[in-house]
């Protein structure tokens, strides 16, 4: 039964590879074929959602760890499902279902399926090697999606994206190699166990390399040069998916892994400094942006900077804060992007204001509670850098309010509308309403939601639990014995 966890990744992959031949076999008209293929793709995602929910039942007490092919921890491929990855997985699957592009060519559907498989793989990977593999796959799928755009600048923009991403891959791979050379293992739990026994210490350079490498997807400062141009040309739905969900998935998964492996205070400082730079540059650039989607793109760089700042606080508290900010942004940013599609109506504006208010942190919306906790945490943590972060955070909020509400003046043009086909009329708005509803419901139930998330993040930050659930006691003993030899 638990082996079906692999299906969550395998099914969309398989569906992607089967899609082209299947599409050629379909003899019906172009219109029906398109609908059929979309149905097929979305059905695949729905099935993975169903499997995830089935498996997620028992995760509350004991995380689920699956050794592929029966090989034990350090050797085999390890999939790891705890409450955090469950939450991210479900959020990703729901987002995919809601934001699936309509009226697209089979190739786009196939790329979307690849994107789905790789992001789910990212959420589930229990070792660094697989993390890297899925990360690469995600990058490839995204290039395809960006390059498939009909705009004239698409090839150039996706090439630039490819360059940065390629650089990131090299960095990440060298970081992983460094870790391997120090511990002789790529499995997270295994490395954690090794570190806990004090047998090895990881160099900070490995952290920096991996962070910058994988930070490309997470819109980390200095490796996020691709963000504004890419989000400006792809469709609002894809922007919502990439900026809203995939980037957050990358952040949470990666930072979680890294914080587990690198308890050094210097590692947190790097996160903090890059986060601060991201906030300053992103928010100010958004303030000067000349059209709506670029503004939102720059703004998401700033938001992710804030998430990095949050993660730089102590392991448990930082994990909670980062998670809260990420989830909040995961609801708000797609909502804002969805409202940039098509002509704006009155209720679009109202919804836009709702999202903007929460993003700025106006009580009693969820954004306020997140900011309140984060700021009190920063004051408590003390130190010059944290105080700087506090000031930057507050300043960024002012700038955010300034550019978000400038939209009310209707002076910011949308870039030429991306054709999303006739099937989508009203759907984007509907998703916006749905996300607005999520925001309102969360406002009304801040406490229970916070309680759940606290448990999730404390489980995710528990090193011992990770080690004990992945490395079976016998295997651990065996390892110790081997090491002692």
């Amino acid at each position: 039964m638990s082996n079906s966890l692999a299906l969550v990744i395998a099914l969309p992959l398989l569906a992607a590879f089967l899609l082209q031949p299947l599409a050629q076999q379909l003899g019906v008209g172009r219109e029906q074929r398109s609908v059929a293929i979309q149905l097929y793709a979305q059905l695949t995602i729905a099935v993975t959602l169903w499997i995830t929910l089935m498996l997620g039942n028992g995760v509350e007490q004991q995380p689920l760890s699956v050794m592929m092919g029966g090989f034990s921890a350090p050797m085999g491929i390890n999939l790891y499902l705890d409450r955090l990855s469950l939450l991210l997985l479900v959020a990703t699957q729901l987002a995919l279902l809601l934001l699936w592009p309509a009226d697209a060519t089979p190739r786009i559907h196939a790329l979307m399926l690849l994107l789905s498989a790789s992001s789910m793989g990212l959420a589930l990977s229990g070792d660094l090697f697989n993390l890297y593999v899925f990360y690469e796959l995600l990058a490839v799928a995204t290039f395809g999606l960006v390059a498939a755009n009909s705009s004239r600048s698409a090839p150039l923009i996706s090439f630039r994206y490819l360059l940065i991403s390629g650089l990131g891959s090299v960095l990440a791979l060298s970081g992983i190699a460094l870790i391997y050379s120090h511990t002789g293992s790529l499995n997270l739990a295994d490395i954690s166990a090794t570190l806990q026994h004090g047998d090895a210490e990881l160099p900070l350079a490995a952290f920096i390399l991996i962070l910058l490498g994988i930070g490309v997807k997470a819109e980390l400062f200095a490796v996020n040069g691709w963000v504004p141009e890419v989000y400006a040309i792809i469709s609002p739905r894809l922007s919502a998916l990439l900026a809203g969900v995939v980037s957050k998935l990358a952040v949470v998964v990666i930072v979680r892994v890294l914080l587990m492996l690198f308890p050094h205070p210097e590692a947190a400082q790097v996160l903090l400094v890059l986060g601060i730079l991201g906030v300053i540059s992103g928010e100010l650039a958004a303030w000067r942006a000349q059209d709506l989607r670029r503004m939102l793109a720059y703004s998401s760089i700033g938001q992710l900077g804030m998430i990095f700042i949050a993660f730089s606080l102590s392991l448990e508290f930082g994990m909670l804060m980062g998670l809260l900010l990420s989830l909040h942004h995961m609801v708000v940013k797609p909502g804002l992007f969805m409202l940039t599609a098509g002509k704006s109506k009155r209720w679009h504006m109202a919804l836009f204001v709702l999202f903007a208010l929460s993003l700025v942190g106006v009580p009693p919306l969820p954004g306020f509670w997140v900011k309140l906790s984060l700021l009190t945490g920063l004051v408590e943590a003390g130190g010059a850098l944290n105080q700087l972060a506090l000031i930057v955070f507050l300043g960024a909020t002012v700038i955010e309010a300034s550019y978000l509400f400038r939209v009310l003046q209707n002076t910011l043009p949308n870039p030429p509308a991306v054709d999303e086909g006739h099937l989508t009329v009203g759907w984007n708005g509907l998703v916006g309403v749905l996300l607005g509803g999520v925001l309102v419901v969360t406002t009304l139930s801040v406490d229970p939601v916070l309680e759940q998330l606290k448990q999730i993040s404390s489980q995710a930050g528990d090193r011992n639990l990770l080690i004990s659930s992945v490395v079976t006691p016998s295997a651990e003993q065996q390892m110790v014995v081997e090491r002692d030899k």
Partner: protein, 621 residues
């Protein structure tokens, strides 16, 4: 669960919002709203009667994210709330009649204006009744955004200036945010008492930071220099009665919060602190004087009646702070009484100007004149209002300003006194310009057919005028409320009776002063009406504003009013604050463009490589 009067008030306030949503749009149908505000006023009045001691604690308390939030209304909050609800009652009545219908005809949405007004009142209730720093911040944010909504409703220019307000308000709100998290860091709680206890041991640097954040953060809302630029345009562009409401009370919330934090939340030890060049009290007083002088003379230059009034609103806030900064009985009484007095005459004046706009479609002081013969009631309102604003007897503005002056002199603060008097001089000159250019001189041809405004509009104006006069003659009534307010934050109050203040070295009894004045008026009237008919003179045999009139002008000398004075003080108007704002924005824009350049590089990996090398180098250190 037992419901007390505070809960009841909150409930009625919410019902008012809902009612505004339902019937706010029906011009004459809006009487239900006035009734609801009146009901709120009755509840507040009953609370004022019974108030004292601990204040009223709302039964609605809850805890979120591990912090408890509660509301509690004491004397200070009640005083501000009384003014708020009272103003709203006058304003909504004014709006609901023909004015609202005309507003709808011109394409405005009366419903949303009414909803915005009701929301403003409700959020201000939340703020004024805050029982801890968390509810204070929530109320502060909500009230600021509600005010933004009201300002932005009209769209166009109004939205543009409202967005400017928004930036200032957000800067203020974030300072306040920093303030509450810093105080939380000191006390580990948002409760007032816990923070007061913890603040005794606060370090010098932290205390200075707390002072700075409090005065600047909340002071932005009350337009303290140098954060005042947003206020006048934003209030002036708000639809008529809305501007009366905002001008009367909205910006006073800043003063409320400053008082609450400095005298209730934080321990009083900050008064003894020395900042290196002066103590905080003196600094506060000088900021107040600057806030009086600059905006008042800016007001004098305005050629739009609404702008002129709104600029005065900023300046008058300076008197309030100046009085309170003295921290002696007379100063506190004067400063705090001025809040009420200002609200009454400012509301009356804005409503009068709105009435003029309603009939003539303009508030341009160069295109009005002579309306006294067509709109006598509006003229009377404005006359009473400007006498109050200028601080002359027998109107209420005189009492509060007199108290402030007395306090300054008793404290030996001669320079501050001179500053305050210069401000008053500017006020008198500019309000005369307002009255003269609107109502005196010859009636313009296009205004020949103008009539007095309908009763729904003149009645609130006349009632407000009566209030200004009555509280001028019997300042003891509002002083009673002020005493409750001052007591709740531990500030001293002088002895007072119905007619004024009893103090060593000279009491003030307005009943006597008004009696003398009014009998003087009576004698003058007797002479005027008894002396037979008036004599017509040649237009050349006349002068205005200290200047001879030439045959080419008709008497109504409104264009370039005070030309001589303006010529003298022109070098002082360099718009330094406007320029400062522009420079800051420009600098920020340059930095922003440079940073944006990082994302638009030809070689996208360059920045990444630089950062990577720097970080790797750092990790080897």
């Amino acid at each position: 669960m037992e419901i007390n009067t505070l809960d009841l008030l909150a409930l009625i306030s919410l019902v008012t919002v809902a009612t505004a949503l339902l019937v706010g749009g029906q011009g004459r149908g809006g009487w239900q709203l006035s009734l609801l505000y009146l009901l709120q006023l009755v509840v507040v009045a009953s609370m004022v009667m019974m108030a004292g001691g601990e204040g009223i604690i709302s039964t609605l308390q809850f805890s979120t994210v591990g912090e408890s939030i509660g509301w509690r209304l004491d004397g200070l909050g009640l005083y501000f709330l009384l003014i708020t609800v009272g103003t709203a009652a006058f304003v909504s009545f004014y709006m609901a009649g023909p004015w609202g219908e005309a507003y709808q005809r011109d394409g405005g949405s009366l419903r949303w204006l009414q909803v915005a007004l009701a929301t403003n009142v409700f959020t201000m209730l939340l703020l004024l009744a805050s029982g801890d720093l968390l509810s204070l911040f929530i109320g502060w944010e909500l009230a600021s955004w509600a005010a933004f909504w009201m300002m932005a409703l009209a769209g166009g220019i109004a939205l543009k200036v409202a967005l400017r307000y928004l930036i200032y308000a957000m800067v203020g709100a974030m300072m306040v945010f920093a303030l509450i998290v810093i105080l939380y860091g000191q006390a580990g709680s948002f409760g007032f008492d816990e923070i007061r206890e913890a603040s005794v041991q606060m370090e010098r640097g932290t205390t200075i930071l707390v002072l700075l954040l409090t005065v600047a953060g909340f002071g932005i809302k009350m337009g303290l220099l140098p954060f005042h630029l947003w206020q006048a345009p934003a209030y002036a562009e708000t639809p008529g009665p809305g501007s009366a409401f905002l001008g009367a009370i909205s910006s006073r919330l800043g003063l409320f919060a400053i008082l609450l934090v400095l005298f209730r939340v934080v321990d009083g030890a900050w008064i003894e602190l020395y900042l290196g060049f002066m103590n905080p009290q003196t600094l506060l007083a000088w900021i107040a004087v600057a806030t009086i002088i600059f905006p008042t003379f800016t007001a004098m230059r305005q050629n739009d009646a609404r702008q002129l009034l709104a600029w005065h609103g900023i300046g008058q806030g300076g008197y309030m702070l100046l009085g309170i900064a003295m921290m002696d009985p007379l100063g506190v009484a004067g400063g705090m009484l001025h809040i009420f007095n200002h609200a009454t005459y400012q509301a009356a004046l804005f409503l009068a100007v709105t009435a003029v706009i309603y009939r003539t479609q303009t508030s341009d002081l160069n295109h009005l004149g002579g309306l006294v013969v067509r709109m006598p009631l509006t003229f009377a309102t404005m006359l009473v209002g400007i006498i109050g604003l200028a601080g002359l007897p027998p109107m209420n503005g005189f009492v509060s300003k007199w108290l402030v002056y007395r306090s300054l002199l008793e404290q030996g603060e001669v320079l501050l006194f001179v500053g305050a008097v210069i401000g008053t001089l500017g006020t008198i000159l500019s309000v005369y310009k307002l009255l003269h250019n609107t109502f005196l001189g010859s009636l313009r041809l296009e205004h020949q057919a103008v009539r007095e405004v309908p009763i729904t509009m003149w009645m609130p104006m006349i009632l407000l005028s009566g209030l200004i006069l009555l509280t001028g003659i019997f300042p003891g009534v509002p002083l009673q409320w002020v005493a409750e307010a001052a007591a709740s934050i531990g500030l001293p109050m002088p002895q007072f009776n119905l007619g004024g203040v009893i103090a060593e070295g000279g009491s003030l009894d307005m009943r006597v002063i008004s009696g003398v004045l009014l009998s003087g008026f009576a004698i003058a009237a007797l002479i005027f009406y008894g002396a037979g008919s008036s004599r017509r003179v040649n237009p050349l045999d006349n002068y205005a504003g200290g200047h001879f009139l030439y045959a080419s002008n008709r008497y109504h000398y409104s264009n370039n009013f005070y030309a001589g004075l303006m010529h003298l003080i022109k070098p002082w108007y360099r718009g330094i604050f406007e320029r400062l704002e522009q420079i800051i924005l420009l600098l920020l824009a340059v930095i922003a463009d440079l940073l944006q350049g990082l994302y638009l590089q030809r070689q996208p990996g360059r920045v990444a490589l630089v950062v990577l090398v720097l970080l790797l180098w750092w990790s080897t250190l």
